[in-house]
């Protein structure tokens, strides 16, 4: 008897059928991967199971019994736990406080923290999930935070664990560790639903693969019976080019020169600690690193959003060290920001406005401070066409597009400006394979056109497939440089997590550094 069985679950949003009679079975001790592009309905399905959304039809059976799940509380009581893509952790609270939230041990409303801590330690020892019960969430790495989420579900008594895109934020090492944890959970008799759109993960971790597309289950298979290409075809519905083809790099004139750059973060701490490198035309240089090692600050300094505390930035011989964002655009720097909602788009503006943002002051879009709607519309239409933005028209608000299409709008604007240097920060974050393929093609097209590209990515696969040269950044320093053909994921992961040691400095400063970070 399956521990969890979904029968013909249907969920309708205004205008979209998110789940169309989806059925799924999960056996005890089994890992099922739910594979599909963004918008295929995977998360919706699991939100229905977890009681976050109500279904418009279908049945849920837990251990053979029909149940109605109207709230997460009910799901938890039925032994269903979920680790969300965006963690449900309260940052300033401790690990213990987060884990016991909603089910606190104690009497008369007074929490028995000693018992709570002890329980947390018990579970953490039993499943090999080491964590400091008194640490605050905000001081933990993302991988650790995820571990806390899993512990929370286990504490709540989960026998079915739903993991929603669990690897999106992890380093390769953390992914490995997660897979180990997932297997040990299954050995203890739990069942796991693993939501993802990454093919290689599905192949390595799951017992069974269920593929969804456009709200329907389009196939079911086992890792032993398929391969990447077959899965991708099932998922997207057409053949997908997984590996990007690119010719040898033709390094032209030097475009960007970064010298001894130091940048401070919002808290005034040194985030970039003396970084020097160059990018030449016709070359993609990738900055590989674990999130939070100074990449964001470095990018912000280059595109004029943050003032470096020392060092210099040169763009084709022009000093842009202290250039404002506007001056930086005018000098020929384009920026695909890591957070498209916060910096890439104005969600409440329509596509035409979003497609010319940054150039809106200049002819042909405006003259003497007055906008020219027809010129704007013309360019917008052309860019929507060229960059394959799926939308009925440019009148649509940016907020109404899917993530992939939103990103295409950002890419269309930034590349459409014809820059000298393209700074692409996590350009495919959260995108599905189809959109990733498209964005990758655009980035490589820039390279073919002899432009310089600086890519910042947490996805090593992306780094390895796009870059000509790879700089590994760790704690604000570039600790290693590789050409793409002399390195693999393992090695990069090793250096990204400080494996190379910070040989550049004395011991004393290293100690002080780690203290400052904790």
């Amino acid at each position: 008897m399956p521990v969890l069985e979904l029968r013909e679950i249907t969920k309708i949003f205004p205008g979209v059928v998110a789940n169309d009679r989806v059925s799924l079975e999960l056996e005890r001790g089994e890992i099922v991967a739910l594979l599909g592009e963004n918008g295929a309905g995977k998360s919706t399905l699991m939100n229905v199971v977890y009681g976050l959304m109500s279904s418009d039809g279908g049945q849920i059976l837990v251990n053979g019994e029909m149940v109605k799940i109207k709230s997460p509380r009910q799901a938890i009581d039925l032994g269903i736990g979920m680790v969300h893509q965006h963690f449900m952790l309260v940052e300033p609270l401790t690990v213990t406080e987060n884990i016991i939230l909603g089910r606190e041990p104690g009497r008369l409303g007074v929490i028995d923290f000693a018992t709570a801590r002890q329980k947390v330690q018990e579970i953490s020892a039993r499943y090999g999930l080491k964590v400091d019960p008194d640490a605050k969430i905000m001081d933990l790495s993302v991988g650790m935070q995820q571990r806390v989420e899993i512990l929370k579900a286990l504490y709540q008594g989960a026998s079915v664990l739903i993991l929603d895109e669990p690897t999106a934020v992890l380093t390769p090492q953390e992914v490995k560790e997660l897979f180990r944890v997932v297997r040990s959970l299954v050995d203890e008799g739990l069942s796991v639903v693993f939501i993802t759109h990454k093919l290689e993960e599905v192949m390595s971790v799951s017992d069974r693969i269920v593929v969804m597309r456009d709200g329907k289950v389009v196939g079911e298979t086992k890792p032993s019976e398929t391969d990447d290409v077959g899965l991708a075809r099932m998922m997207v519905g057409r053949d997908v080019v997984l590996s990007v083809e690119k010719g040898p790099s033709t390094c032209g004139a030097q475009v960007l020169e970064v010298t001894d750059l130091e940048v401070r973060d919002d808290r005034g701490l040194e985030a970039v600690r003396g970084v020097s490198f160059t990018v030449c035309g016709g070359e993609v240089v990738a900055l590989a690193g674990v999130s939070g090692n100074g990449q964001s600050e470095l990018v912000e300094a280059i595109v004029g959003l943050r003032r470096p505390s020392s060092g210099s930035l040169q763009l084709k011989g022009l000093d842009i060290t202290h250039a404002s964002a506007r001056a930086s655009i005018e000098a020929g720097v384009s920026h695909i920001p890591e957070d498209r909602h916060r910096r890439g788009l104005v969600l409440e503006f329509d596509l035409a406005e979003n497609l010319i943002l940054g150039d809106h002051r200049l002819p042909p879009f405006a003259s003497h401070g007055i906008m020219h709607p027809s010129a704007i519309a013309g360019v917008a239409e052309r860019r929507i066409e060229d960059y394959d933005v799926r939308t009925p028209s440019w009148h649509v608000l940016a907020s109404n597009l899917s993530g992939g299409n939103q990103q295409k709008v950002v890419v269309a604007r930034e590349i459409g400006r014809n820059p000298e240097l393209l700074v692409a920060a996590q350009p495919t974050r959260g995108l599905d394979v189809g959109s990733i393929e498209f964005v990758h093609k655009q980035i490589l097209a820039e390279r073919e056109n002899g432009k310089a590209v600086l890519l910042v990515s947490l996805e090593l696969e992306e780094v390895l497939s796009l870059a000509d040269r790879i700089l590994v950044i760790f704690e604000g320093r570039i600790v290693q440089e590789f050409t793409v053909d002399e390195v693999d994921e393992e090695t990069l992961g090793y250096y990204m997590t400080g494996g190379g040691g910070s040989k550049l400095d004395g011991e004393a400063e290293h100690v002080e550094m780690t203290e400052g970070d904790s």
């Binding site: 959304m53 709230s71 009910q74 449900m88 309260v90 609270l93 409303g109």
Partner: protein, 317 residues
């Protein structure tokens, strides 16, 4: 002259002045910790002050007046809770509306009830809880007189405020209610997904802030002034908000911050007595507590970070 200014009375007065600020500030702390901004503390305090006086005048019992003040504060806060939690309207707008409403309603009702604007008849004030004799026994007598003067000369709500600060601090960090409250203002969805009601938690917090602001109003009329005057809160609700921030969103912190503002207030009153000798316009002293507020809010004395989700209405998916 310094000896005339720094007397037990100055510090006692600081404690007294701090009390309404502290009560409202603790209310603000609880409310904001739940994720709801409450700039309506001023209005809630004013309504509490008014109804406390009305009921005391009608029944002759100040304790019934205090209860009326708390209940009316809770009632006004229900408007804020409904608007900002259920209707998900902008919390600053709702709060501002309540402040204006409170001013209007109390003024209007004064006319209807007493037939004149301005100030009500005196209710008299509640007396101190303890009445210990002064001592003239040399050095130890002086110490006793200071302790007696500063700490043992107060009215009931002054002591209530201290107890409330300590109990609220304990509850916020040791009880289930407190844990839920702290989580609510940071990440309401996390609270929701473990099956704890965000709506209920926020309602309770807003109502508590209303009750505390009402009690602050009662302290103002029934213990300090002895009558109600239109707009007598005079910005104290906003100073309380500043105290909450300065106190880093903790009850005891709020109390201590209020003590600082209370001291500034007590000092300015004292200095006015000596204005002939100091030769500075009295308006300058009156300004002190407000200047202090601006300085604190400008982050001069350490920057504070509030709950992450404060001011954001919660919507289920």
């Amino acid at each position: 002259m310094l000896g005339d200014i720094i007397t037990p009375d100055l510090f006692a007065s600081a404690l007294r002045m701090a009390t309404p600020l502290a009560l409202a500030a603790i209310g603000g702390t609880i409310c904001e910790r739940s994720g709801v901004v409450n700039i309506a503390l001023e209005g809630m305090m004013l309504v509490g002050a008014f109804f406390g006086t009305v009921i005391t005048l009608a029944t002759g019992n100040a304790w019934l007046g205090i209860i009326a003040a708390v209940v009316s504060g809770v009632a006004v806060s229900a408007i804020h809770a409904f608007a900002s939690i259920n209707l998900r309207s902008d919390q600053v707008v709702s709060g501002t509306a309540i402040n204006i409403l409170a001013l209007g309603v109390t003024g209007f009702m004064m006319e209807r009830l007493y037939g004149h604007p301005g100030t009500t008849d005196p209710t008299g004030t509640l007396g101190p809880v303890f009445k210990f004799a002064m001592s003239d026994d040399g050095f130890f007598g002086t110490i006793w007189n200071w302790i007696n003067g500063i700490f043992l000369s107060h009215t009931p709500i002054v002591y209530m405020a201290i107890i409330i600060a300590i109990v609220a601090q304990w509850a916020m960090f040791r009880t289930r209610w407190g844990l839920h409250l702290r989580a609510l203002g940071e990440h309401p969805r996390a609270v929701d997904t473990v099956g704890v009601s965000v709506i209920r938690g926020r309602w309770i917090a807003v109502l508590m802030s209303g009750g505390l602001a009402g009690l602050a109003g009662a302290n103002l009329t029934l213990e300090q002034v002895g009558s109600f005057t239109e707009n007598m809160t005079n910005g104290r609700g906003f100073i309380a908000l500043a105290a909450n921030i300065f106190g880093h969103w903790t009850p005891v912190g709020s109390y201590l911050a209020s003590l600082l503002f209370g001291f500034a207030d007590a000092l300015q009153i004292k200095l006015q007595i000596f204005r002939g000798e100091i030769n500075i316009p009295p308006q300058f002293f009156l300004m002190l507590p407000y200047v202090l507020t601006v300085v604190v809010l400008a982050g001069v004395i350490g920057r504070a970070v509030g709950p992450a989700a404060v001011g954001k209405p919660y919507e289920k998916e």
